[in-house]
């Protein structure tokens, strides 16, 4: 590999600085002891984190978001495993159409999804309920689980399965003891990616949540449009922390570079 010149390295440093600046500033300001969004001097305090945990709106939204992301990622994974297997192993005339359908939530703006779902809920009832919210998020994250599980199934050596079958194993045994363990990285990777995306989703959720089911990003959005104080920075820092933990786990079980840029 060639080496980059000084200009290229400066360019890279500027891009990195630009990329990290807003995230770093959030994490620094979160520790301010002041009442304003400033950081004067070296002392830091945890008072705004304490304020977050004592602010019922943020706490209840956090639990909403957590349960929502757990449920949506799990449902989406459970649906995607058989659907992905059908697409990869039993291709038929409609496979392309189905694959397009399952991946389409990626190219439809979340705002349009939110608007459309709001209409559905107002027609059939139950607008803003947690159950609907879970289904809405399951839809949005399905492209991620579907893609990673399909990728795992495509690069799959089927000789172990055939050996087990020829030795008399039942189809369910083969699935549980051979297929599932072999595609497990794709499943867990897809689940985690789905979890992160559900946990962060704001644009669609803002339309389909009710005051009792407001998720954390929606609560933060509404809070930030009205008042800006260091508590917002503290919540944001917590969000960054949670995402970072999820990303580290994702990196361990699947490889972040594989999720972000495909195989590298």
């Amino acid at each position: 590999m060639n080496k980059n010149g000084p200009i290229a390295l400066c360019f890279n440093a500027l891009v990195i600085l630009f990329t990290l600046a807003p995230i770093l500033v959030v994490c620094v300001i979160a520790f301010t002891p002041e009442n304003t969004l400033t950081m004067n001097g070296p002392e830091f305090s945890l008072r705004w984190f304490k304020a977050v945990f004592e602010f019922p709106d943020f706490v209840s939204s956090f639990w909403n978001s957590l349960w929502l992301a757990l449920a949506a990622a799990t449902i989406s994974t459970a649906l995607a495993i058989p659907a992905a297997m059908a697409l990869v192993r039993y291709p038929h005339r409609w496979s392309g159409v189905l694959q397009g359908l399952f991946l389409s939530p990626l190219i439809i703006p979340h705002l349009v999804l939110g608007v459309a779902l709001l209409r559905l809920f107002s027609v059939v009832g139950g607008a803003g309920s947690f159950g609907w919210l879970v289904l809405a998020h399951s839809l949005v994250v399905t492209p991620y689980t579907m893609r990673l599980i399909m990728a795992a199934l495509i690069g799959f050596d089927r000789s172990a399965e055939q050996a087990a079958l020829s030795l008399g194993a039942t189809r369910s045994t083969v699935f549980l003891r051979i297929t599932l363990p072999m595609i497990l990285p794709g499943i867990t990777g897809g689940w985690l990616l789905a979890f992160i995306n559900s946990f962060d989703e704001v644009t669609m959720s803002i339309f389909v949540t009710s005051p009792s089911t407001v998720t954390l990003p929606v609560r933060m959005y509404m809070y930030a449009t009205e008042s800006i104080d260091p508590m917002m920075a503290a919540v944001s820092a917590l969000m960054v922390g949670i995402t970072a933990v999820a990303m580290i786990i994702l990196d361990r079980v699947y490889g972040l570079d594989r999720v972000l840029v495909g195989r590298s």
Partner: protein, 305 residues
């Protein structure tokens, strides 16, 4: 968007060789796909159809949308009112500018990352791409702190003896934050096409006396062009429908497509009008995506014989 979302794991190609179709198994794949099909039908297709119908329903400020009525007045209102033109135009030029900046910054950055040595290469790539996973609300809030009147940038300007600049709640703020959110979507496809680049061709050109600029222009650029084009498509589409960034950094005055739809729905309560704008946004998005895709395919099929 959550813009979050990577479009990177290459779309898997279903190979016919993997098929193990046996007679009597025709219904099996449908059975296996049924739950996912049901989810997409109930939560995607039906709502879109309902919204499509809603956008033709008459609206009364007292009673709300009237079911069973048919009118084109919402589309007419949107397509003739200069107020909406202003918003469409702003959405268009902001998305275009963001796309342009992402090309100018993202493509060279991917190129530089690709030329880095082993450990730094993947570390820097992760640093550039990881913000993709962080909530867009957090990032918008971070920018509002940096760009605000008491923020780091104005603080630095004042410390250096300059006057303060109004950045927050301007179009500049929206563009800066959108570039931040969209940059990974440009770096990823360009990086991917750089991986396929055959270094030997560039070296051959160099050894035959071509200048580095010529190599870049005649050999590297044409080969990473598909990456730049597909990146532009994603960046433009996501920018045009972005919600949280203009909502938090544009203030109450500077509206874009997404924020105006939000207003129609949740403040004006004129759902049919909001539905009409949302559908126009969706159609514009799909037309650009499919059209662009087709154009690229045709161009590169021709170019590659």
């Amino acid at each position: 968007m959550s813009a979050a979302g990577t479009t990177s794991v290459a779309p898997p190609v279903v190979s016919a060789a993997a098929s193990d179709k046996a007679p009597g198994q025709r219904s099996l794949p449908w059975l296996m796909s049924a739950p996912a099909i049901l989810l997409c039908t109930v939560m995607l297709l039906v709502p879109l159809v309902l919204t499509f119908v809603l956008s033709f329903n008459a609206y009364d400020a007292e009673t709300g949308p009237k079911a069973g009525t048919f009118t084109l007045e919402h589309y007419a209102a949107v397509l003739t009112d200069p107020y909406y033109y202003g918003i469409f135009w702003r959405t268009l030029w902001i998305s275009g500018l963001v796309t342009l900046i992402c090309i100018v910054v993202g493509a060279p950055e991917a190129w530089i990352l690709n030329r880095m040595r082993k450990p730094w290469r993947s570390i820097m790539l992760l640093v550039v791409l990881a913000p993709l996973m962080i909530s867009v609300v957090v990032r918008a809030f971070g920018w509002s702190m940096l760009l605000g009147p008491e923020g780091l940038i104005n603080g630095t300007l004042v410390a250096l003896g300059f006057a303060k600049v109004k950045l927050l709640y301007t179009e500049t703020a929206i563009v800066i934050a959108l570039v931040h959110v969209m940059l990974p979507f440009m770096v990823i496809p360009v990086w991917t096409s750089l991986q396929k680049l055959d270094g030997g061709v560039a070296n051959a050109a160099l050894s035959l006396g071509a200048s580095p600029v010529t190599v870049l222009r005649r050999i590297v650029l044409p080969q990473i062009m598909p990456g730049i084009l597909s990146g532009s498509l994603i960046v433009f589409g996501l920018s045009a429908s972005s919600f949280a960034i203009p909502g938090l950094l544009g203030g109450r005055r500077l509206k874009m497509m997404a924020t105006i739809i939000y207003d129609e729905y949740l403040h004006e309560l004129n759902w049919p009008l909001g539905a009409a704008i949302a559908l126009l946004l969706l159609v514009a998005n799909l037309v650009i995506m499919l059209g662009w895709n087709r154009m690229i395919e045709r161009r590169y099929k021709k170019a590659l014989g």
